[in-house]
Each structure stands twice: as structure tokens, then as C-alpha cells.
Amino acid sequence: MTSGVVIAQIATGFDKFLNALINGIALGAVYALLALGFVLIFKATQVINFAHGGLAAVGAFLTASFATVLNFPGRFLPEMPNWARWSLSALFAVLAAAVVGLLVERIFIRPMIGEPLFSVAIITIGVDIILRTINDDFVGQGARTLGDPWGIQVIDVGNLFINQTQIVTVGAALLCFGLVAWFLRSRLGVAMRATAFDQEAAQAQGINVGRVFSISWGIGAALAAVAGIFSSVAPRAAGVTNFTAFVVFRAFPALIIGGLDSVLGAVVGGFLVGIGEVVIGTYTAGLSGVLGVGFGLIVPYLLMLIFLFIRPYGLFGTEEIRRV
């Protein structure tokens, strides 16, 4: 069935590696954002959030409609440059997605406090199905472009090609990491860490645990939305589709490698997985006869399995102490 595949491996040496590395970093930034939101939710509420992909897709769709169809808030600011108008649209979309996150927590997760973690995790699968179905109906079939001003424009540095969207992606990711780091040191952030450490003790100290839950879901959803937006732009996608939500399955290995409850681990794991996927994918591109087409896509999972055997709780995760 497979025809004689002739892929001449023209080694362009170090440039090829650097190009792959840049693509990997941009992809890793998306994975890190997804993993970070996931970990924040898990740390604060102990919930494995399978609806994370749904939230990412909601963010991407809202950006698409704010930036193109509704032209909000750009229609009130005609003299603004394109990139600023789009960024504002994206910002509003992210805030709206955060509200969706808050609602999800309030409606579906709050009643489940005290139930087994497994049940809550499965509930989020149900929530994911609901979110995606409604979102897909709005998105429609085919790709809906996000209308970002960068498109497929490339910056050419010698033999290196860097997509402008990739620079924006990494920039936005760094901004988000900074904000999260700042937040974790703020009063509310300390409350969240305290809650993560011991819910009852935190409550005894006068921390409003319910509020911490809401806020962590809000921030988690916002981070997911940012990731959704930047996984739906060129060059990796033509826009938001019915499959945008599935990007989260590619980010799961990042979580496990970093450790489910480690903020630093999420970021490190995200970049590790992104770079691994692209670099290994690029260098195995000629070997599809042996390794199969799309080998790069399962590299994160293979990495994850290897890591799990070496460190079952990830690079930075805390080991569970089991008492009888």
C-alpha cells in the first residue's frame, strides 16, 4: 500500500535544527499555557479538568467573533493600529472565557465538593462535551479565521524563518507566566497556595475557600483561552475548528512530565514536550516507512511513558505519601 517514498534528506545542518527549535518553542509555549492552567485548577481544587480543551476552543471562537464578525471593541477605536485592536479583542475574549470557567465551576464542580476525585474528573468530561457541542455549533464546519493581523508573515533572519505569530505566541505566554507568578505572590495567590496545601487549615485561617476555587477556575480558563487562541493561528492552523479543543490531548504529557501539581513543572514540561515533538518529528520525517506517518505526534506520549517509569510523579511533582 505504501508507495515508494523517496524523501531526500537534504541536511541543512544547524539551520534546520534552529528552525525546528523555534517552531518547538512556539508550540511549547502553547502547551505550557495549557498545562499551567490545568495545574492551577488541580492545585487549588484537586480537580482533573478534562474540560480544559473545551475552554480553549471557547476562547479561540470568542476571539474569532470579537475580532472579525463583531469587530469589538475595535469598532469604537478606528484610529488604533490593527495589532492593538486585535489584541484588545483577544483580551476581551480571554476575559469572557474566564467567566465561562467561573460558571462551570459554580454550576458543575461546586456541588461535587467532597465526592471522589475520579467522579469529579469524569464530570469534567461531561462538561467538555457540553462546551464543545455548543461551541462547535457556533464555529460551524470548516475553519473560522481569527483575523489576526500577522497571518503568515515571516521574519527572515539569515536562513532562519520566524513566523510573526510565533513571536507573539511566545510573548503572550511569557506575559501570562509573569502575571501568574505575580498573582501567586499576591494576597489572593498566597490564599490559593494555602488552600492547595490544606483546605481545612486554610478555612480556619479565614480564607474563603469557595472564592479561591472560583478564582483558580477563572485563571485556568483564561490561560486555556490564550492557548486556544495561539493554537488556532498560522502556521499550525487555518483558524478555530471543531478540533481545536483536542490540542489539550497533546499537552497532557507536559503535565505528567512536569508533575500534576507543580507550576514550574507545567511550564518546563510544556516547552520540553513542544520542542521534543517538533525536533524529533522533523528529524524522523524521512523515516515514515519505519516509524510511521505522524510519529512526531506520539513523541510526547512516548516521552511521558519514559518519564513515568523514571519519576512516577513527574519532574517537580510531590510524591504521594500513602498511609494504611
Binding site: F108, I122, D137, V324
Partner: protein, 410 residues
């Protein structure tokens, strides 16, 4: 001591398959109804015996076998697995190689069902044993992620073994459900063609339904026997407190391996039957969505119980079809007058400015029936988990207990 339903005088009686006489009678009646369903004898249930519905029921029976398998692993032994689809795929492709025909770019040896069906289960079980040590090393939610990895790696293998799977977006065909001695033309027992059994004329759908019902009964007894004997108690001990179980002499490694093996055996058989029942599958169809379906089935049905897994499978498979019929019924009502027509108009959306949920034209506003089904499916998972963690089985228990004490409830 007769006639006291909750009084057991021996351990054997307590763990018997059907402990009371009334249960035996009820089970007998249920089986009689189930087997005679295609004959359309019972007035209220005739629609269920029609050919289109028998196809739906056939799928539910196959899903029930798979769900019983996951129930052993997740419900009894407490190991969360999202990798069920992978084991089903493994079973299905084993069946395809052994029982399928060579052609359209794929290989197959054309062997009879008594080889390919057990082989599908055995191969899947062996792979289950290989995976099991991971479950000892990696626990709880981390295990869920490992099993997700299995689905993705399996997907990659299935896509790329093109002479087995037919390749992505293309797929291959499976052997039909026919009982043959060897490769003879006329099957020993013709299941997949219209004809008569014991002098009764039956459609292809009816025969497949009866055949699958027989298989499900075998697997259900197998499941029940695991659950009520030493093996099942060991699984439950691991589920509830694995360290305590080990101290009591339940070897964690071997019992987890056993749980994976048995569960995968069920999954492999179910996957092979599913592919054979529908005739063809693409390699992408053994995906996470299928795994989640099975998790949903055992949660909706009631985790840990034989009846729950079967009930859940029927529920999850039948509800989408009911919604489709319901939507069409509404479509027929919109033309008329009265309350029902008004309700139908309210739910259906026919124009851009019409309020409604379900769209009636191919392009345009409103959710499609497919989307309504998905939405309902998501809601059912959520609603059952929040309000009825015991699932359909729990509802049944409550209904039964209510009537047991009637009219003196509580």
C-alpha cells in the same frame, strides 16, 4: 426459612447468582421476553422488535460486553482506564487478520469465527497483562493518563499498519458473524442472512440479535462469577485499600495483571464483534471518544454491578436513536394545530428568526440532532454523577425498595 428474602443461612446462598426464587422467576421472564423480542409478540414492545431497532439493540449488546469488561477493571478493581478503545482495537484487528478476506490492500486468512473471536479476546488479554505492571508503578489519576497514552500510541500503530487496517480514512472490512466449521461456502449456522431457525423465519437483524444476546449472557455469567467469588473480593480489596489488601495476602501485581487481562479479554471480543457487526471500521475509530463512552456507560449504569453495566450500555446506545425519533415526531407535528404542535414549533427551529433549539434545514441556525444527542450525552454524565452516583442501578434499587415496603415507605 423459605419466603424470607433477606435471610441467608449459608455463605453459598448469600453469594449465589440469583439468591431468591422471585429473582429466578424475574430473570426467566426477562430472558424469555428478550429472546422472543424479534417475533414481536408483546403488544407494547413490537416496535423494539422491528429490524431497525434490532440493529440498535445489537450494538447495545456488543457495548454491554465491552462495558462488563471495563466494569471489572474500573468498577471492581478500581483501576481507572481510558484505554478501553485500544484493547477493543487490538481485538478487532486480530479478528480482521484471522477472519477477514485478503483484498483492497489488506490481508486476512478467512478463518472461521470459533478461531477469530476467542483469539481477539486472548490477544487483547495478553497485551493487557503487558500493560498491567504500569498500573502497579503508576497509581490513580496518573494511571488514567497512561491509558490515554495507550489510545494514542494504538491509534498511531493502527493507522500505519496499512495492510492490516486499510489506512487512515479508508478502513477495511471484517468477517461477517457466521458460524462455520472451516472455510466452507454454506455456514453451519447462518447468522448474517435472512432465513429460518428452528422453523421460524427470521431476518438477518433478528438472527444477529439473538446470537449476540446469547454471547452477552455467557459473558454476563462470567462477569457475575468473577464478581461474587474470591477473585472479585480480591479486586474489591485492592480497589478499597491496596496496601491493606496486600497485607491480607492479596498479591497486588498479579491481581492487577489479572484484572487487566480479563477486562481486555472482554474488550477484545467486544471490539471484534463491533467491527464484524458493522462490517467495516477505520483505524481512527478506536479513539478516546470510544473509551469515554465506556466510562460513561458504567457510570450511568452503576459502577461495579453486572446489571448496571448492561443497563448503561442499552441506555447510552438507545438514547440517541430515541432523540432522533423524537425530533422527527416533532417535525411531523409542526404542521398541525393544538398544544403538541405549539410545543413542536417551540423546540424546532425552521427559520433564522424563529426561536428553537433543533434546526431542520441542512445549513442554517439551530443544533442538529447529532449535536442535541451529544449535548444530552454530556448532560447525562453530569446529571448522573451529581445526583445519582449509583447510576441506573441505583434508581432501580430505590424503585424496588419503595415497592418492597409499600404502602409503608420508610
Amino acid at each position: 426459612m423459605r419466603g424470607r428474602p433477606l435471610l441467608y443461612t449459608s455463605y453459598e446462598a448469600d453469594s449465589a447468582m440469583l439468591p431468591t426464587a422471585s429473582k429466578k422467576v424475574a430473570m426467566g421472564v426477562l430472558l424469555l421476553v428478550a429472546f422472543t423480542l424479534p417475533l414481536q409478540l408483546i403488544p407494547g414492545l413490537k416496535w423494539l422488535g422491528s429490524n431497525p431497532w434490532l440493529v440498535v439493540l445489537g450494538q447495545a449488546l456488543i457495548f454491554a460486553i465491552g462495558a462488563l469488561g471495563l466494569n471489572i477493571l474500573t468498577g471492581l478493581a478500581g483501576q481507572v482506564s481510558l484505554g478501553h478503545a485500544f484493547f477493543m482495537g487490538m481485538g478487532a484487528y486480530t479478528a480482521a487478520i484471522l477472519g477477514g478476506e485478503t483484498g483492497r490492500g489488506v490481508i486476512g486468512f478467512g478463518l472461521p469465527i470459533w478461531i477469530w473471536l476467542p483469539a481477539a479476546g486472548i490477544v487483547a488479554a495478553l497485551i493487557g497483562i503487558l500493560v498491567a505492571p504500569t498500573a502497579v508503578r503508576v497509581r490513580g489519576l496518573y494511571l488514567a493518563f497512561v491509558t490515554i497514552a495507550l489510545v494514542f500510541i494504538g491509534d498511531h500503530i493502527f493507522r500505519n499498519l496499512r495492510n492490516v487496517s486499510g489506512g487512515p480514512g479508508v478502513g477495511r472490512t471484517w468477517p461477517a458473524l457466521e458460524v462455520k466449521l472451516w472455510k466452507e461456502e454454506e455456514p453451519l449456522l447462518a447468522v448474517s442472512s435472512d432465513g429460518s431457525w428452528f422453523g421460524i423465519d427470521l431476518s438477518r437483524q433478528a438472527k444477529q440479535y439473538i446470537f449476540l444476546l446469547g454471547l452477552l449472557i455467557v459473558f454476563a455469567i462470567f462477569h457475575k462469577n468473577i464478581a461474587r467469588t474470591r477473585l472479585g473480593r480480591a479486586f474489591a480489596a485492592i480497589r478499597d485499600r491496596d496496601i491493606a489488601a496486600e497485607i491480607m495476602g492479596v498479591d497486588e501485581v498479579s491481581y492487577k495483571a489479572l484484572a487487566f487481562a480479563v477486562s481486555s479479554f472482554f474488550a477484545g471480543v467486544s471490539g471484534a464483534l463491533l467491527a464484524s457487526f458493522f462490517g467495516s471500521r477505520t483505524p481512527e475509530s478506536w479513539d478516546l471518544v470510544l473509551s469515554v463512552t465506556f466510562i460513561a456507560i458504567i457510570l450511568i449504569g452503576g459502577a461495579g454491578t453486572t446489571a448496571g453495566a448492561i443497563l448503561g450500555a442499552f441506555f447510552v446506545v438507545m438514547v440517541p436513536r430515541l432523540v432522533e425519533n423524537f425530533t422527527r415526531l416533532l417535525g411531523e407535528l409542526t404542521g398541525g394545530e393544538g398544544v403538541f404542535a405549539a410545543i413542536a414549533n417551540f423546540i424546532l427551529k425552521s427559520g433564522a428568526n424563529d426561536f428553537g433549539l433543533i434546526g431542520t434545514s441542512v445549513i442554517g441556525p439551530g443544533l442538529s440532532t447529532f449535536q442535541v444527542n451529544l449535548l444530552l450525552y454530556g448532560l447525562l454524565i453530569v446529571v448522573f454523577l451529581i445526583f445519582e452516583p449509583l447510576g441506573l442501578y441505583g434508581i432501580w434499587l430505590r424503585v424496588r425498595n419503595y415497592w418492597k415496603g409499600w404502602p409503608f415507605s420508610y
